[in-house]
């Protein structure tokens, strides 16, 4: 019984090490392939379109919803201490440092990470990735690199959009509903913020972009087992990248706030 348990733990550790090693090797190959030629600008533009432009509505809507809910909570909480003025300051701080990058990261892991996993997974099971290999084209260079670059560019840009939308979400509640002065809200929102906070948000977004693209492509590339495998790849990609986004968020916050 004890030996069986040790055997199971050993098998699980070996499997986890194997999976982590595989991901690390593919990630390393992707970063190396960024500098290889030929540079496929058209492919990158296509990815910027699908990863970036098409994701704007979902980021705008979720950022608006979350910032409005957060403003309602802050207004209610600070009203208990007659400190309603602080609500806009905390709203600004929370949106910039946490809500904008994390909400953008999580939404994009659901939207683009899953799409990458499904697309590459389908290509894998229909031998299109083998066809790339046979046409003397490195799938890592052709498929992973444009998606990684697009994601690294787009997630920080959409985080800025999220901050901007978050400002107006808070405005709608704190000025429109709670009756604060629009002038005061405009000033207070940025009062606790420094350039460092924007830098933190952008670094987080950049890391989240890397996680989303690499996990999405990796899960797709390693798809096995036909339709069932293609069905599992996006789910697995979203779960894994969301988890890593939250873990990375914790460590980045600890690291960058020092």
């Amino acid at each position: 019984m004890v030996l069986t348990a040790i055997d199971k733990v050993g098998t699980a550790v070996l499997k986890a090490t194997d999976t982590f090693g595989d991901f690390t090797v593919l990630a390393g190959r992707t970063f190396t392939a960024i500098f290889k030629r030929p540079f496929d600008g058209k492919n990158l533009l296509n990815q910027l379109q699908s990863v970036g432009v098409n994701s704007i509505p979902v980021v705008v809507l979720t950022s608006l919803a979350v910032s409005m809910v957060f403003a309602v909570q802050l207004a209610f909480g600070f009203k208990q201490f007659q400190a309603e003025g602080l609500a806009s300051q905390v709203e600004g701080l929370a949106i910039m440092r946490e809500l904008a990058p994390v909400i953008t990261g999580l939404m994009l892991s659901g939207r683009i990470g899953s799409a990458m996993a499904a697309e590459l997974g389908t290509m894998q099971v229909t031998e299109q990735i083998d066809a790339l290999e046979c046409l003397a084209t490195d799938p890592i260079h052709y498929l992973f690199v444009p998606r990684l670059l697009a994601s690294m560019l787009v997630v920080p840009m959409l985080t800025v959009v999220s901050v901007y939308v978050g400002f107006w979400g808070g405005y709608l509640i704190l000025v429109g509903v709670e009756g604060q002065s629009a002038y005061v809200y405009g000033n207070e929102f940025y009062k606790l913020l420094a350039f460092r906070d924007l830098r933190i948000a952008l670094i987080k977004a950049l890391v989240f972009g890397v996680i989303i693209a690499l996990v999405g492509c990796w899960k797709g590339y390693r798809t096995q087992g036909g339709a069932e495998g293609v069905g599992n790849a996006p789910t697995s990609s979203v779960v894994t990248s969301s988890l890593w986004i939250l873990i990375a968020d914790f460590f980045l916050t600890k690291l960058l706030l020092v």
Binding site: T122, T126, C134, L135, T137
Partner: protein, 263 residues
Amino acid sequence: MAVIDVVNLSKAFGPKVVLSNVNLQVQEGESLVVLGGSGTGKTVLLRNIMGLLTPDSGHVAVEGKIIAQLPREELFQVRQSIGMCFQMAALFDSMTVFENVAFGLRRHRKMREDEIRARVEECLSMVGMKGTDQLKPAELSGGMKRRVGFARAIALKPKILLFDEPTTGLDPVMTDVIGRIILDLKHELGVTSITITHDLKSAFEIADRIALIFRGECIACEKPADFKVNPHPVIQQFLRGDADGPFLQDPPPPKRSRQEAHS
């Protein structure tokens, strides 16, 4: 020196041995047809030649270069001289027929757009697919997809062509069309080729030599005329297309008589 040299090639997936000590040599300009039942490792053989799989033991050498030992960049150089036609065509479904055929040219040849267009049209007309360049793979039938796959494979003017079951799942007429195209490509391009097929009619038309893989081993590799009269019971059973014999490990129950079947 053989263009393709398969030496003692063995490959297993877990406990299942797919190829066991397979030896094959294909000379320049020769057309080898590989026959064998489903799941006997024919596709695995092609994937080893392309370097998509690594042998457990033995090796595959293409023009003297051992595929499994090549660094990736060098492997890609070798692959530019091999055209692979997949069983289900494996066309890039997000691209048009034109973009599929032009893919290799755009990535590996410094050609102007008008030169690429001319070469794509030439390749498409060689496989009887002229005028389909703006269609997407989803708009093509199975036979059309295979032919576009052929056009894509020959676009880079390879010295070697590998066909993985090019006629499987096609009607007899389309099977004949594909067989004729392979024959035309062989005569027009003079390439060295390996064709995996179950279609005996086109196999005997295409082949300079025929090999039969049985339970992971190559049990014959000879000229079509010799192959036809080879007394090996497995070869004779395969040629007859009969269920009774040593070919199947788990043979079906004996055939009922016609009268019994109708009663």
